[in-house]
């Protein structure tokens, strides 16, 4: 916004205006940057993490996948939850310490829950998650009212 420099009859305003113009162009610039830069991804897939090999160790990353059916194990005393994160390329064992979101763990016969885990991959091959986020798709279904 070069207009900011040409218009401000009162000198006390020009500083604020320039700041504003800077904030505005920074916002627009960031939008364009994120648009052209494919490198900044919100999450990786299980396959991508495997392909990274040792490069993935101890880096804070997010991984997306479905919770493998029947893989959730939780021990009540240590607050530890472990499960396998799964996609077409295979499985990634995940360990999470803490209280999971309320919706974690639901599944129906044919559909498995998608989650995003945020944390670090350890050389042992296990992913230590510091946050566990339940993903929900665009599908909405009415709750079935039990007929009996």
């Amino acid at each position: 916004m070069n207009a900011a420099t040409t218009t401000s009859p009162r000198p006390r305003l020009s500083g604020k205006l320039l700041l504003l113009a800077a904030a505005f162009s920074a916002a627009v610039g960031f939008l364009i940057w994120t648009g052209t830069q494919g490198a900044t991804v919100y999450y990786h897939t299980v396959g991508e993490v495997r392909d990274m090999g040792s490069d993935a160790y101890y880096r804070l990353i997010r991984v997306n996948g479905t919770v493998a059916d029947g893989s959730i194990q939780s021990s009540t005393d240590s607050n530890l939850i472990s499960f396998d994160l799964q996609d077409d390329s295979g499985r990634l064992p995940v360990e999470y310490r803490g209280t999971p979101p309320d919706l974690f763990g639901y599944s129906t016969q044919d559909r498995y829950q998608e989650v995003i885990v945020e944390g670090q991959l350890e050389p042992s091959g296990a992913f230590r998650a510091r946050s566990l986020i339940v993903k929900h798709g665009p599908e909405f279904e009415p709750r079935e009212i039990p007929s009996q």
């Binding site: 916004m1 207009a3 900011a4 218009t7 401000s8 009859p9 009162r10 305003l13 604020k16 205006l17 504003l20 904030a23 505005f24 916002a27 627009v28 960031f30 939008l31 994120t34 648009g35 991804v41 919100y42 999450y43 997306n64 999971p100 979101p101 309320d102 919706l103 974690f104 639901y106 995003i116 946050s131 566990l132 986020i133 339940v134 993903k135 929900h136 798709g137 665009p138 599908e139 909405f140 279904e141 009415p142 709750r143 079935e144």
Partner: protein
Amino acid sequence: MREVRTTELPGPGRLAILREPATAALYAALLLSMGLAIFMAFLFAPAERVQADVYRILFVHVPSAWLAFFAFGVVALGSVMYLIRGRARWDRLALASAEIGVLFTTLCLVTGSIWGRSVWGVWWQWDPRLTTTLIMWFIYVSYLALRSYIDDPDIRQRMASVVGIVGVVSVPIVWFSVEWWRSLHPTPSITNPGGGMPPEMLTALLVSVAAFTVFYVVLVRQRMQLELAVAELGILRERLHERNEESA
């Protein structure tokens, strides 16, 4: 010397404004559609299979988002028309719509955060949809701040128009962010083949969008009237000041 256009001053009484038939009709439509929207959101639409009742926040979250997009589109329209025609009325439309768009974006972010806490387990994530929405919010807050920093009306209106036109680029970016990039936020349920919702939910959503649209129209009208009155006040003050100086 600019001409003072006198607004119709409503007569005494708090509800005098309702004597205008168009305004009265709008307020009636507002109350009706809002009542219907709330009824449908809670009693007509069924509970959801996975999310139970909390999904109902959709009925305010989605209309807030759509009306914000619409409002920012109107800002661009008003800005273009102002630059072409030079009528202050178009600028008032842009200003009113920007302020209301910011309001709706704020409500969209707040309700989204509440929903996210309940379903995702987190209040906020730097996912593309959330991040771009926040940036869109910043752009229009800057637009409003810019207006308040420039005293000269002509310069203010022209600069604001430029920002109002450039800023609308953020709307398609926010809309398509869930298609272009990997995100946590779901893709649209209605237009996406993977999504969908039962007809009762869809009907309730559309009624809610209609109610929000009526509300948007009411707010824009009121905000434009305020801006007109403020502009007149400035001119009158100037004139009174001039006359007092003459006679002094």
